[in-house]
């Protein structure tokens, strides 16, 4: 369904996303994971051409066989919201504060010509009901600040689903939600996927998400793919030391990603200060001379693809738990 090849997103000469390639299959629940600044959100945005002004995309993104990078803005606009829905984090600021929730959902239907006025409004209420919002008619009349955080996130999802897209990109949809709400939202994703055979790309830094739902996982570090593979493989046999570190923090169930930083000394490099060789090398316990000299490329290692000169072998997730 989606083939991404050698995608780069650059700000001037600086590449925030640097040669990322991956495929997403129809009906798949695909997870993109990485620290903030790893380029994961930019990758998600790049699919729809929604990156910040001043950035340029190179490479190739093919959605259902169409080259997205070559589509003019007008046609991209037709795809957005219609065929591909997107859900953002922090719905309080991601929703327009001065427009009623129902109208914001209906807008998607109206701009894509799938109904107007009353019909769109009725559909908005149905959608709210669909995402399990109690009293959807009242919520439709409410402004975003008048409803709870969890409801806002549900409303955001309803908005993304309004035109019945086949692909849903969810960019950190559970950040800033408390644990129970988070679980409910994730359950909603799973349910939607089941019932509508929706393809979902979930972008997160939240390891807790991984284990529960995803089919495959893509780990990003400093603009590069560190590792990509089926969720079980990655979970149980991470090849990349960075993935391992993520797993370590992820193993502590729902602990925030911040703890990764505690597991791995140092911090992710900024856009301007990327090290030579493997970008993870300054923080990597296994780093050797070649790691500091040449950049590793993705290669198959034990069921997944990893970009590492010295992949971890024989590491079992279960050992960690033990």
């Amino acid at each position: 369904m989606l083939q991404i090849r050698d995608l780069s997103v650059s700000f001037g000469r600086r590449r925030a996303v640097d040669g990322v390639s991956f495929d997403v299959e129809e009906g798949e629940f695909f997870l993109v994971i990485g620290e903030s600044g790893s380029g994961k959100s930019l990758t998600g945005g790049a699919i729809l051409g929604l990156n910040p002004s001043g950035s340029t995309r190179t490479g190739s993104i093919r959605f259902k066989g169409r080259e997205m990078l070559e589509l003019p803005e007008r046609e991209l606009r037709h795809l957005r919201g219609d065929q591909i829905g997107i859900v953002y984090q922090n719905p309080l600021s991601a929703m327009n504060p001065v427009i009623r929730v129902g109208d914001q959902i209906a807008e998607s239907i109206i701009v894509h010509g799938k109904g107007s006025g009353r019909a769109a409004a009725t559909r908005a209420i149905e959608l709210l009901e669909r995402v399990h919002i109690p009293d959807p008619a009242r919520v439709a009349q409410a402004f975003p600040h008048e409803i709870s955080g969890g409801m806002r996130q549900r409303a955001m999802i309803a908005m993304a689903l309004a035109c019945g897209p086949s692909l849903l990109i969810a960019d950190e949809p559970t950040t800033a939600l408390d644990v129970t709400i988070k679980a409910q939202i994730l359950e909603l994703f799973a349910e939607l996927r089941r019932e509508r055979s929706l393809t979902i790309i979930l972008i997160t830094h939240d390891m807790g998400v991984v284990t529960q739902l995803a089919d495959r996982v893509l780990v990003m570090y400093a603009g590069k793919v560190a590792e990509v593979g089926p969720v079980e493989t990655i979970m149980n046999q991470p090849a990349h030391p960075y993935t391992k570190a993520l797993m370590l923090s992820g193993a502590m169930s729902d602990a925030p990603f911040k703890s990764v930083l505690q597991v791995i000394p140092g911090s992710a490099p900024t856009l301007d200060a990327r090290p030579l060789g493997c970008r993870f090398n300054p923080r990597c316990a296994y780093a050797q001379d070649d790691c500091r000299a040449t950049m590793p490329s993705l290669r198959p290692i034990a069921g997944s693809l990893a970009a590492c000169h010295h992949p971890l072998v024989g590491f079992r997730h279960s050992e960690l738990v033990a």
Binding site: Y88, M95, V98, E146, A160
Partner: protein, 337 residues
């Protein structure tokens, strides 16, 4: 909401009281005898004394102040020494002209500054943005009175396109007075030609006012638009497939309106001040020209009336804005409650 409004109105009354007292006290700091002026060049001392008594100018200051305040409560601003009529009557004939110029300029100001801000905010730092910045800055640096004369010179004297001054072209026939606003009255009378005549008189004075205020207005609106354009809900809207124009008008502009309106309130204060200057230059028969002519001959009651009336207009506008905020931004509703 009602309580809030009542508080605002009470506050406006307090402000008016302060203005009334301040202007009264100050106007009596410098002793001058308007009666002498009033009596005329060849009047005898007796006549001057008689006129002084007629206008109560021989009373103790406190008595004058109290009767002045009592008068104000009844809408009585005293008598203009220059026109010999009650100031309230004069105001009734001059105020509509001022309000018409004020509101017309205000509308043009809001439209133009938004228009320029929208263009400028499209590509911040771009050539158009810099051009608008330079243009508006030049406008704001030009003193209004100077700008007004420059416009007269260009559009009347050199090009002969627009009238020199006044509110209605000399040789045109004015419509019957209904609202006092010529733009409205001409339309009510079904005289589109007269409407355009009245409009032609409004163009230069309001241009002088608007050009002066445009810099600040555009800058504020531009900043608000840029800041709103960077907000996440814009990204959401784009993700929904909403086009740039709809994003601008339905999303960004509505959110930017709150900060824009807040700056408008301050700008409106300036606008009132500039209207007075412009009236003098363009012989616009409003309260500014009225007060100007009056203080030239030491007739002070109209000046006080001008201060009070413009404060009242300003207060009303501020209260209206306060009512408008929660309509535009629902978040304010819960704040007010």
């Amino acid at each position: 909401m009602t309580v809030f409004l009542l508080r605002r109105v009470g506050w406006a009354i307090l402000v008016l009281f302060v203005v009334a007292t301040l202007t009264f006290v100050l106007s009596h700091v410098v002793p001058a005898d308007p009666a002498a002026f009033l009596a005329g060049q060849n009047a005898t001392a007796d006549t001057v004394a008689r006129i002084r008594a007629e206008y109560g100018l021989d009373q103790p200051l406190l008595i004058q102040y109290l009767s002045y305040l009592r008068g104000l409560l009844h809408g009585d601003f005293g008598i203009s020494l220059r026109t010999g009529r009650p100031v309230s009557e004069d105001l009734a004939s001059f105020l509509p002209a001022t309000l018409e110029l004020l509101f017309f300029s205000f509308a043009i100001y809001v439209a133009t500054s938004l228009f320029l801000a929208i263009i400028a905010a499209k590509r911040p730092g771009g050539r158009l943005d810099s051009g608008i910045r330079l243009f508006t800055m030049l406008g704001s640096g030009m003193p209004v009175f100077w700008l007004g004369m420059a416009l007269q010179f260009l559009f009347f004297y050199k090009l002969g396109l627009l009238p020199l001054g006044g509110r209605f072209p000399l040789r045109a026939i004015a419509p019957p007075t209904v609202t006092g606003f010529l733009l409205v009255d001409t339309l009510l009378a079904g005289q589109p030609g007269a409407f355009l005549s009245a409009l032609s008189c409004l163009i230069l004075p309001s241009a002088a006012i608007v050009l002066n205020l445009l810099a600040v207005g555009t800058r504020m609106s531009r900043a608000a638009l840029i800041s709103e354009s960077g907000k996440q809900y814009v990204r959401t809207a784009r993700g929904k497939g909403v086009g740039p124009r709809r994003i601008l008008y339905r999303h960004v502009l509505r959110n930017a309106m709150t900060p824009i309106l807040a700056s408008t309130s301050i700008q409106f204060g300036y606008m009132i001040s500039w209207v007075i200057l412009v009236e003098v230059i363009f012989d616009w028969p409003g309260i500014g020209l009225y007060a100007y002519q009056s203080f030239q001959v030491f007739d002070y009651a109209p000046v006080v009336a001008l201060a009070l009336v413009s404060t009242a207009v300003f207060s009303i506008i501020n209260v209206l804005l306060d009512i408008l905020y929660p309509i535009i931004d629902p978040r304010m509703r819960s704040l007010r409650a």
